[in-house]
Symmetry: C2
Subunit: 249 residues, 2 copies
């Protein structure tokens, strides 16, 4: 396509996301508008990046298929992963609405994004308040996730942080159809986890080992097994003496 977009492979009328539990049904008019608002798709291979910190993007995106993450880089090369992006999530709204991006986004798997031209967002607000409301809901919801991550980084121990993150990722994956029956494919490495939790790779590895010994989960070869959901949640949240409950950690 002339604008660099891929022609659509999925008509909005048959969007697989619409059947997910956390999506409200669209009216016929809304559906038609969205369908026409969608300028095309962006297909990205694992490891590639959608937009770069400091650049402008003409489009807003919705993740249709795959895993991504948003991150920031420091001048010294350090990377902080801000959050993981799941199907249905908005991308590109964060860096205020019209300004330069203050973060980058990278694909963990091959990925399909729906692209919406930024300069027509105003139309959406003017003509479909219900959709505008949804956009705000998404923004405020992702803010809540960031709040929780901030709490993790600031106040939880490395073991708690790790337990919280893995549980959170599993639950999000389950919500979006990327996991079931306690099993998920996690398409990221320990380095990604380290960059999310603000700890070194080595320490992440050691902590992961300790967490595995609790027997609440297993993560090997990209495969995550949630064995004891409540146990993992307890490790994430409570300030119990873990060594009493799990002498091996």
């Amino acid at each position: 396509m002339a604008n660099g977009l891929h022609p659509r492979t999925v008509p909005c009328e048959q969007c697989p996301l619409r059947t997910m539990a956390n999506f409200r049904p669209f009216t016929a008019e809304e559906l038609q508008f969205v369908s026409e608002f969608k300028a095309g798709e962006t297909h990205i291979k694992a490891g590639e990046t959608v937009f770069q910190q400091g650049s402008r993007s003409d489009y807003l995106f919705t993740l249709l298929r795959g895993w991504m993450f948003r991150y920031k880089t420091l001048p010294d090369g350090g990377r902080q992963i801000l959050n993981f992006v799941f199907p249905g999530d908005f991308l590109g709204l964060q860096g205020s609405i019209l300004d330069e991006m203050q973060h980058s986004a990278e694909a963990l798997t091959n990925v399909v994004l729906c692209a919406f031209p930024r300069d027509r967002l105003w139309d959406l607000y003017a003509r479909f308040p219900g959709l505008a409301f949804d956009v705000t809901w998404l923004a405020s919801h992702s803010e809540q996730v960031l709040d929780e991550n901030l709490l993790s980084l600031g106040r939880r121990t490395s073991l708690q942080r790790l337990a919280y993150l893995l549980l959170h990722l599993y639950l999000r994956a389950e919500e979006t159809g990327l996991a079931r029956d306690g099993k998920a494919i996690f398409p990221f490495t320990q380095q990604h986890v380290a960059d999310t939790l603000g700890m070194s790779l080595v320490h992440t590895n050691k902590t992961l080992r300790r967490l595995a010994m609790s027997g609440t989960m297993r993560w090997r070869d990209r495969t995550f097994d949630l064995i004891d959901r409540d146990g993992l949640a307890a490790l994430a949240l409570h300030e119990t003496n873990h060594r009493q409950k799990y002498p091996l950690i």
Copy 2:
């Protein structure tokens, strides 16, 4: 007032915030709607709290006058400050739009808030897309601040975090008319800073001491002096060897 709100002391037509640089001018219709949307004011004394984690609030708020902060508490009593709230900021949008609050908000000074009934937010979206757009803008903007804080907590050293936070607070204060000529009243204690940056009070104190020795700022008796803006920014951002530049830190 029957609903527990204070009658308005400031008519929206003369709202002092409207003259601030970062506010776009309202149309007459918008102004009239906002004025009628505002159910009243909430007056809070320093140290009191507007809403509590886990509670529901019937109102959305805009901070009209004073300083506040949002925070979360852990079962063990730990507190993480999520961000500081300045005049013009929204409060109560974060905990998704209609659900339970996932955080609390406390006043650092005596404070005046404008209260808007949550259940009429839909009206705003339906009738004033421009205002709806503004709401989204505010949400996405505060998300950007959270991104930056996350980067701080995850990847910066304690000295950098501290420099970044103080500079950020000063700049926000300046934007909102609470500071000028490099001087501001900071109505919070070292404990607040510690709870924001995820470090202990003792270590905050030591780091603050080191930062003061760089000569880029001074903070004593609630008074903050920004002495060398660029120097402080450099300490916050660059990974230079600070001891070369400021042998005393």
